[in-house]
């Protein structure tokens, strides 16, 4: 299963640049980024080419940072692509807590990344339904 780096950030100007500065200095590439915001503070969620190393760098720089297991699947970049996966999850009563996605233009594909309570169980269900689960290394080579 792939990993997402989650970083705590106070909600004030410069919150992203302070994180990206550390990653940039350590030669770590960002595949995707999203921010959950609660008003006073937020969690910056990052898909990195080297998640373990990125997490360590951020921790060493003083951030509250952690690795979280997530599910990432390939879907078709066409109408109904995401719906197939979403319908399956709904049918299995699996709640998606936090999600984001991005497309890969040249391959006409998209990646759907999301957080659930039970990652292995969800991965197994999706695999059985024919979805392609993406690992850390694959995420970067897409």
């Amino acid at each position: 299963m792939p990993h997402q780096v989650s970083v705590f950030a106070e909600n004030r100007p410069g919150k992203i640049s302070r994180v990206t500065e550390v990653l940039s200095e350590n030669g770590i590439n960002i595949r995707a980024i999203t921010i959950s915001d609660s008003g006073d503070y937020g969690i910056i969620k990052l898909l990195l080419d080297k998640p373990q190393q990125g997490n360590e760098c951020l921790k060493n720089a003083g951030f509250a940072s952690t690795l979280k297991d997530i599910v990432a699947i390939k879907i078709d970049d066409s109408p109904g692509g995401l719906h197939k996966a979403a319908a399956l999850l709904a049918g299995e009563n699996i709640n998606v807590e936090d999600a984001y996605g991005f497309t890969i233009r040249e391959k006409n594909q998209a990646v759907f990344v999301f957080q659930v309570a039970d990652v292995p169980h969800t991965e197994k269900l999706l695999k059985n339904a024919g979805f392609e689960i993406i690992s850390d290394s694959e995420l970067y080579f897409i």
Binding site: D40, A64, T66
Partner: protein, 431 residues
Amino acid sequence: MFYQKEIETMQRKEIEALQFERLKKALEAAARTPYYKRTFTDNKIDITKITTLEHLKDIPFTSKNDLRLSYPDGMVAVSKSDIVRLHASSGTTGKSTVIFYTQKDIDNWATLVARSMYSTGARKEDTFQNMMGYGLFTGGLGLHYGAEKLGCMVIPSSTGNSLKQLQLMQDFNTSIIHITPSYALHLVEVIKENGIDPHDLNVKKAYFGAEPYSEATREKLEEQWGLDAYNCYGLSEMNGPGVAMECSCKNGMHIAEDYYIAEIINPETGEPLPDGEEGELVFTHINREAMPIFRYRTRDLTRIIPELCECGKTHRRIERIKGRTDDMMIVGGVNVFPSQIESVLMNIPEVGNNYRIVLEREEGLDRMHIQVELYSKLFQGDMNALKKLNREIGEKLRALITINPRIEFMEPGSLPPSEGKAKRVIDNRKI
């Protein structure tokens, strides 16, 4: 204008004779309590040998911590069945300090408050709107009972809900209000915003208490509201409000010397200071059955005004409280110590040891923000977990300090380090 002329105009010698007589009784009662029995034994105090008021200084001070250590009832001098009420205020950590009252104590307290109100000109024809917190806090109920004793019509409107307060004032012709100065500043703005000139209301008097404020603010409030404002001092350990209150002269608060013996001491050495010198106020309660307390250190700084007041009352006055000798904060009238907050945070592993308390005033009401650093190693990367943690900290603090602080999570390392004398409290309230 006297409610109990004989007591209020007693000559000094008579006051002292009355104080001594009551002190003796209080000492006898206290000797039956576990706390004072031990204190008298440990300090080799034979209460039968206390023959003048001067001997009071041989009795050790009682501190807030002593009250906490004797929680819940180590200082109670009557049987439980004779107790009719308790009030509580915050201790420095954990347990609160609890004060008990018999029916006679409640009646005496009400009489004292009625008497103090009377000397500001309050009469039974008045309508008294009590905008102080009711509950464990003594501010609301203390004046409530006093005003009823005096015969006023009492509106127990408590704090907040400004439009309702205004409506009550208009509909029932409120003539006296009891309010914190900060809320009075806000409420007068609300009244004006509603197109009403506060001078057109019937409010003629205000009792201000529960928080420190300046003489300039009093003048501003009197002018904006078109009323006379009187300072009111009290602390739950000595009953609550009414311990000292201004008369119509508005020039210092008369101590109820038939209830309390006041001393001013040097807070460093504990040595009593002569009248007129500034120091820490110390009270002995000589008129409470359920819980006599001797030489209680209030931590409040003031001086006793030696001159007689023009009103004719012979009870001495204290000046407006100048400050505190400890780090106690007063938030919305409630006493809070930084150590209480620290004691809660220290038991939450997800937050670091660094914290900062920021006090703000929003719409006339005090708000406490507590900034805490997240501890990086226990960060779960999950918004729901953070929200849950935020609620958990808030609830634990609320249970301890009774007010609802706003918890703000901070990045590790963003607050000043805990070593040395870090400034833990930022007070942005202006009054």
